[in-house]
Subunit: 162 residues, 2 copies
């Protein structure tokens, strides 16, 4: 099964395509590609959402994932940020749903728990596990890309019908 | 010029198509159609955003508005509500921008100010002005539809290049 992991953001949206193979236990995960979609703050909200939409459509057309894993918004920190991320998230969920992907949402706590066994794990612990699980020589430099890999792995570990 | 006014919401999204004619002062506004897009809470976020997207696409194809007026989120009240509305808003702005409408955003204060001359006007005062300006015999029953008419009128009054 091909999974699309997404760390939603308006300025910077991480994405990762992971293949999950369940022929034999343990579950085998293979990274197909990953990256980050950036949009310029100088552009209108509409234009920025269209950039994200078109890039995601290309990724979905190329890799044909059947399910998308998207990080939920942790809204306790900053309302303005939450609203901005939610705009991007709405556009992302629409794009995935319209292309007939099943969309699964995970909280940061669920993601950390799935990867490290500890819901309060820090960024470096999550990064360490992403690198190990996917057998990467180096982690992608971009934090949003690492987070997209993490949510993709979280889905692979929790999904019942791989 | 044809204007699409939108009061964004996930469960209930108001819309209004208004024609603004500026041949002679004062500005003449004519309602073409209006309504509300409803999505069932039992559906997934993805499915609900697709419903809103498809309905808006139909409305845009039928009436060919060139500009969309969308209410901005007033986020002081409730963070959870703001996030839900922002999801819908992201999908709506993407839909309009992808269909090459210019998207203009207005705060509730700007809308009330434009319609009644008073930023703290209440619902009934705004409704009264919507009814008067558009010469309606009766106001639409749905509050979101009235708000969509209001934001559309606000744009018509503030737009420089009608």
């Amino acid at each position: 099964m091909i999974i699309l992991g997404i760390d939603p953001g308006l300025a910077s949206c991480g994405w990762a395509v992971i293949e999950a193979i369940k022929n034999d236990a343990p579950l085998k995960l293979k990274i197909k590609n990953c990256g980050v979609i950036k949009t310029p703050p100088s552009e209108t909200l509409g234009k920025r959402l269209v950039i994200i939409n078109l890039e995601l459509e290309k990724i979905i057309q190329e890799f044909r994932p059947v399910v998308a894993a998207i990080e939920e918004i942790f809204f306790a920190k900053n309302v303005k940020t939450a609203i901005t991320v939610s705009h991007a998230r709405g556009a992302i969920v629409l794009t995935c749903a319209k292309m007939e992907l099943r969309v699964c949402e995970f909280t940061p706590l669920q993601i950390k728990q799935a990867l490290t066994g500890y819901g309060q794990a820090d960024k470096s612990q999550v990064g360490f596990m992403v690198k190990n699980i996917l057998k990467l020589k180096v982690l992608p430099k971009d934090d949003n890309t690492v987070d997209a890999l993490a949510v993709g792995i979280c889905l692979a570990h929790s999904y019942k019908n791989l």
